[in-house]
Symmetry: C2
Subunit: 186 residues, 2 copies
């Protein structure tokens, strides 16, 4: 009995985290008014290595999937992750990717309980809102760029309730971007 | 001639800065959906002393003025600053305060050229937008609180153009709030 409880406890602790990891302007936009992301230049002293070590999977919304799958392969230096595409309109996705059309909560909870590393919630805005409101995101890792875009696509919109956060990491880069990492407090 | 140029240069360098100094949620709100600011608790290891030393004046919009002037005197620990109230609808303001009804750009440029310390742009949202769009704000000093409010009054709205920033200071407090200070790059 004790061993069973301990194992369950360990499984719970070991559950995979969903990490919203994105770059955002100081006024909270992930794209400019015309879809621009030219402002979002990766800092020369930033390395994705540490972040990527924690991950083996990413979650994308339909629009981000269509944008990224138009490119051949992964960008240079990006490892190949297992990809879940969330869409109510697509009927199929590319080979190797998995389409999630059903009940998001059930599906994400199932994936989080599977063996594996953490999961990168890579976008877009609609999927982020859904997962945040369902309490399925565990960590925010935001790179705040030193710019006000004045408009565009907001990172956070239609969040239903207050969400308390715990700052767990803070880094500053030479270009003036700041990386803030928070755990979401349930 | 050289002395004159030098004096002008010095005067320009010495011009008073307008500093937008506010607390904001990670999703960019200065008030919650029902005007709440209970989330904005001053960190026990934060001191206003250093910030206040730089200032002797503040700029407020009409709503902030009406809210703060309903209270008797300054909050404990807050020095008494010279107060400029920006409003197109008010006809008079309390004794000691100055009403700015005219051309904002001319008036603010005049005040910035006067002798004195820096100026705290204390709110509200409308005045902030006007001064940002007119290029009259020199510095942002934001305390980012570890919370998503999900809605409310945004700090930045209707900013007309991209505004580039230079990070000049970064501090972390025990409650998880982060103070980010930027110069606005003209």
């Amino acid at each position: 009995m004790y061993i069973f409880v301990l194992v369950c406890h360990f499984k719970k602790l070991a559950m995979r985290k969903v990490i919203l990891g994105v770059a955002v302007s100081l006024d909270g936009f992930i794209e400019g008014p015309n879809g621009e992301y030219d402002w979002c230049v990766i800092d020369p002293d930033y390395s994705f290595d540490e972040f990527f070590k924690r991950l083996d999977t990413f979650f994308v919304g339909r629009k981000t999937y269509e944008m990224t799958s138009a490119a051949e392969g992964s960008p240079p230096g990006f490892p190949t992750f297992k990809e879940y595409v969330f869409s109510t309109t697509l009927d199929k996705v590319k080979e190797g990717a998995t389409l999630i059309k059903g009940d998001i909560k059930t599906e994400v909870e199932r994936i989080k309980k599977e063996d594996g590393k953490d999961i990168w919630l890579f976008g877009g805005a609609g999927l982020t809102t859904s997962l945040m409101n369902l309490g399925l995101v565990d960590e925010l890792s935001l790179a705040i760029y030193p710019i006000l875009l004045g408009g565009g696509k907001p990172l956070f919109q239609n969040i239903n309730n207050r969400i308390k956060l715990k700052l767990v990491d803070l880094k500053k880069y030479s270009t003036g971007s700041v990386s803030l990492t928070y755990n979401i407090i349930v």
